[in-house]
């Protein structure tokens, strides 16, 4: 009993410290010099010697003793996976694209690298901005491609208007990024709740059907399962300015709301694509469920998630800080270290049931945090309710006693 009270005390301390650290990381990030754009624009001049700013999205490059500008630099942004991708385009005085530079991106670097290696930007060099240009997508990095494409088009807009007086058609609105997968995520989450509540004799079969569908659709088809970077995007508010893909955020939000409402996590056993992969592999091998009991193994993933979220807030780039094997497993995108991690997780899944879920998955710390604070909040509310009841009861008893005395 005493050790449980002591354990609860430390959990309360950890919970408060976590929130403080996240707030400090957020504040620290805001004090960093993040707007390096104007410094970078200087480096993008090709023929000009002097840079003049016309407005916040348009610069002109001039040569001394020449009347007219020799080139223009336009700035534009597109909505990517983790936030805005900023691009600058250098255009000659005739309207030909001379240089394209990616100034900053909130997308996972592996996706951006894939788009860059596809020579997407090189294909636009030399084209004239007077006419609309279309760019081919890069499979496996659609969101990042769309962000870059939109950013380049928007960067060309102020230059096009300055040179030719032409305005491009309407910019795409953030709402246009919603798609059928988002509706499917809501529908499958609802089905997951129903499957978990049901006592039907084929409950296990329904569960497997949901798991396999999720693995195929949210895993291999769209790679839109949520991760620690999605948690970072949610708490940082980056989704408020628009995201290229809302599916993972929608799934995460539904999971969190359901845990707050009912204290249950239906995602891990019924919807998680990576969990489904591990379950399939577990069926192949003769696996057993094993847990590691020392306290360190419980607290290390919590610390890891906290550090990851703090780094995402501090650098204002949550998409850069994710450590799950999902990107490699479902998209073959990620660093060599995550590749090795994915490989050993898959091989271990043949022997131990769901090793990733039992060890470093950020869902466990997130669920524990929400559940603990929910229980704490409920206990505080219950205590207050109890106090009020006691006061009311005392008042009633007091008034009864007075009435009986008066009647005597």
């Amino acid at each position: 009993m005493y050790s449980k009270k002591r354990s609860d005390f430390w959990k309360k301390v950890a919970s408060i410290v976590s929130v403080i650290l996240l707030l400090l990381a957020w504040y620290g990030g805001s004090t960093r010099i993040t707007d390096n754009q104007s410094g970078m624009v200087d480096q993008l001049l090709i023929n000009g010697d002097l840079l003049n700013q016309i407005d916040d999205r348009l610069y002109e490059g001039r040569i001394l003793n020449k009347l007219n500008p020799v080139e223009y630099i336009g700035l534009g942004s597109g909505i990517g996976y983790g936030g805005m991708t900023e691009v600058a385009v250098t255009v000659s005085s005739l309207g030909d694209i001379q240089r394209i530079a990616v100034l900053s991106s909130k997308d996972t670097s592996s996706y951006l690298d894939k788009v860059i290696q596809s020579n997407l930007m090189e294909k636009l060099l030399g084209k004239n901005i007077k006419s609309n240009f279309e760019i081919d997508g890069v499979s496996g990095a659609t969101v990042s491609t769309n962000a870059l494409t939109e950013a380049i088009k928007r960067a060309a807009d102020p230059v096009r208007f300055e040179l030719f007086g032409i305005n491009r058609a309407e910019n795409e609105k953030p709402i246009s990024h919603f798609r059928w997968l988002d509706l499917l995520a809501i529908a499958m989450f609802t089905m997951a709740i129903l499957v978990n509540k049901t006592r039907h004799r084929k409950k296990s079969m329904f569960n497997w059907a949901l798991l396999l569908t999720s693995m195929c659709v949210f895993g291999f088809y769209s790679s839109s399962l949520f991760s620690s970077s999605t948690m970072g995007i949610l708490i940082s508010g980056a989704w408020l300015t628009g995201l290229g893909n809302y599916t993972s955020i929608i799934l995460l939000s539904l999971v969190i709301l359901y845990i707050i409402a009912t204290n249950k996590n239906v995602y891990c056993n019924t919807l998680c694509p990576f969990g489904a992969t591990q379950e399939c592999l577990a069926k192949l091998g003769n696996t057993k469920t094993i847990s590691l009991t020392p306290v360190f193994f419980e607290w290390f993933p919590r610390g890891l998630l906290l550090v990851t979220l703090c780094l995402g807030l501090y650098y204002r780039n949550p998409a850069s800080f994710s450590y799950e094997p999902f990107g490699i497993m479902f998209g073959m995108i990620g660093s060599i270290y995550l590749f090795v991690l994915t490989t050993i997780t898959i091989v271990t899944s043949l022997v131990v049931k769901r090793p990733w879920c039992r060890t470093l998955c950020p869902m466990n710390p997130m669920t524990d945090f929400i559940r603990f604070n929910r229980q704490w909040f409920k206990s505080v509310l219950n205590k207050q309710r109890l106090k009020r009841q006691i006061i009311l009861t005392n008042q009633m008893v007091g008034s009864e006693v007075k009435r009986s005395e008066v009647s005597k």
């Binding site: 240089r99 100034l103 951006l112 090189e122």
Partner: protein, 72 residues
């Protein structure tokens, strides 16, 4: 035996995750300090992807003329 395997998996995974995160922090810090764009693509007149025709024959002729002058 399986418990040992899970323990080894835990430690190895933790190491890889920490290395990966450390490299990400290092990369972002360097990026900020360098104050250079993430990527720059510049138009070159001799690029095969440009719409300007590449006049290699004329360039070669000029080079050949210069070479003859030098070797005279």
């Amino acid at each position: 035996m399986r418990k040992k395997l899970l323990f080894i998996f835990y430690i190895v995974s933790a190491v890889f995750v920490c290395v990966h995160l450390g490299l990400r922090v290092n990369h972002l810090t360097q990026l900020e300090a360098s104050n250079t764009p993430l990527f720059v693509a510049t138009y070159s007149e001799h690029s095969t992807s440009s719409k300007v025709p590449v006049n290699d024959a004329i360039n070669y002729k000029e080079w050949a003329e210069k070479f003859e002058e030098q070797t005279k």
